[in-house]
Symmetry: C2
Subunit: 423 residues, 2 copies
Amino acid sequence: MTELNDTHDPKLRSWVASANQAGCDFPIQNLPFGRFSHSADAAPRIGVAIGDRILDLRRAGLIDSDDMNALMAATPEKRAALRALISQGLAEGSARQAEWESALVSQSAATMHVPCRIGDYTDFYTSVHHATTVGKQFRPDNPLLPNYKWVPIGYHGRASSIGVSGQRFKRPQGQTKAPDAAVPSFGPSKRLDYELELGWFVGQGNAQGEPVGIGAAESHLFGVTLFNDWSARDIQGWEYQPLGPFLSKNFASTLSPWLVTTEALAPFRAAFERPADDPRPLPYLDSEANRAQGAFSIELEVLLQTAKMREAGEVPVRLSKTNSTRAAYWTPAQLIAHHTVNGCNLQPGDLLGSGTLSGPEAVEAGSLMELTNGGKQPIVLPNGEQRSFLEDGDTLVMHGWCERAGAVRIGLGEVSGTVLAAG
Amino acid sequence: MTELNDTHDPKLRSWVASANQAGCDFPIQNLPFGRFSHSADAAPRIGVAIGDRILDLRRAGLIDSDDMNALMAATPEKRAALRALISQGLAEGSARQAEWESALVSQSAATMHVPCRIGDYTDFYTSVHHATTVGKQFRPDNPLLPNYKWVPIGYHGRASSIGVSGQRFKRPQGQTKAPDAAVPSFGPSKRLDYELELGWFVGQGNAQGEPVGIGAAESHLFGVTLFNDWSARDIQGWEYQPLGPFLSKNFASTLSPWLVTTEALAPFRAAFERPADDPRPLPYLDSEANRAQGAFSIELEVLLQTAKMREAGEVPVRLSKTNSTRAAYWTPAQLIAHHTVNGCNLQPGDLLGSGTLSGPEAVEAGSLMELTNGGKQPIVLPNGEQRSFLEDGDTLVMHGWCERAGAVRIGLGEVSGTVLAAG
């Protein structure tokens, strides 16, 4: 564990009272970045969540422009300095309080935006449990392929269709083919699913042709959001060979609005552990620091609210819960080292999806495909409704948070999204 | 064939004398768009190639900003109007000559840039000949998968590492595993290849959730460049299952600098033809207009200059030659209709790679992997050198052009790129 600097001190409290309430996602120890606006036509501004408020960084005199990608490109030293300034100014007793009160906006009055301009989006496949369970459904005889424990498997995704929490999208249409059908047919997906992921964001980029070594990789990592990578399993099954998923994934993906920085996550680092029989990563993916504390322990849960529940005023019900360290076979530093080892250039604001984070137990699964055994064993909701896959009107909600003894709990906030009818 | 408007009149000549020379890629009937600058620190400007010159559109008073993506987003009517203005102004006898001569720049004095900001890049797999030949090498028993003749297979690629002609890049390093090896090893790729592609660019975008029907698809197509999608076959073979190619492709890809518009290509349309036994495309991919003239007949050739040839002053030697209509199983309109049928939003400046364009004959292959039968039958160059795959110092050059009786030949120009040593 690295020594924690003052911005994590559990005794720190903010003059923003809501930030001090137990269970708040955004205490003064968190300070995540996001982009918000007051009206649909206003240009997004950069803010930091504190309690139920947002500190407008430009109005607080802390930044000169609202270009989040430029802010993300800063060196770790500059980022730490900005964090210290924000922490000091929001702390109880700060002389800045009178000045900064006018730079506060209520979260409930703000419209949140995708937190930065995402140049390229890569989705990884870091959960060996997910890979094994899903692999069984696509390839019963060959669930986990021989490369899985050597290569951090990843593929490029679509940036344009990534939206922010609250996204509503039409059920995708496309080609599917039943195993016993002679020819494919066209229509709305019948096996629409969610995927519980973390979205890791790149801060500093690297020049093309200059790989980032595992030792330097974390200095290129800015922070994390929740990420729902909606997936149409029936479209995927027919289209994905030999070049991977395409239309089954690129109709929509949804991010939580707040970028929780690696600085805020510092108290929640964890050892990177593997079963003793598994191969040791190749040297470009291995370091003592990565083994000791390359992972981040983030609690994750998935909830569902059907249209019927919403009409009846019922709150979302939990479908599953897991922990990112239990679920991920590769750390964010390993993803960055792998992604750049061939000379590929990452840029500030690039998104690296973790892939579906399913833990080892069945109740820790990060998708309906896993929870329902490919749709064969529907789950029964408290109100009696059943779900094999998502239905029109379903709202899917994900939460994430970090907690441990001796540290103040911080939250990643929420990502929600709603399925609309096709057409 | 649509009726050609005056901008294609074979009798049209330009007051830029070099544009009237036989064999010139950029006669007044072409008028492709590109971004150029005079020095490394100058902001790129939008220009149109004419003979061996570039017309600076802002200096000519034709546009207000040098934002190519904004220009590409224009409606087909606005695009046609701009083309007509440029054509009239550059035509022999134009009153604009005196004014526009000062807006001309020599191509040899200009630095060319990637022609627009590429938000998302999708690579397709439109050559059934390529898919069959390569499929045999990856899957001898199962070369052409059952979905191929139904689904325009595509996958997302990396936008950040796309460069413009003249790109020089280090040989990628990565994990590979020989079939008989127990574990993978790490090092420079030993099977580095090129892929001969066309790069189709999106003009007008579509809103998320609103598919573009096959009838409207071409109004979203801006134009075409040459595209070399460099590929590391040994990295690809080990990493690509189950989610597709990743590090084997994203280290570099190279575009030719000039966007040849669909308006310029109008005289070179072709029927979209399929073997009689092949399935008819599903209705969302089929229209009478697409069958009649959805394809574009573009001649393509690949040339190689090794370091030894360069030192000896020898010009590049041709490796293969094909025609895009012979090679492609799907038209650009079908690619756009397919890409958006699930609600995915395309944006101005998005790039749709055709995939490797290999014709039906062995000498029409668009990659070394095909020309050398997976490296087993090296090609012998006129100077006695042999190539199974690319070696350090090799410069790969591609040309493209359109010609037919009764029309003036137009060119796509050239894309070249050079392999540097790893490290």
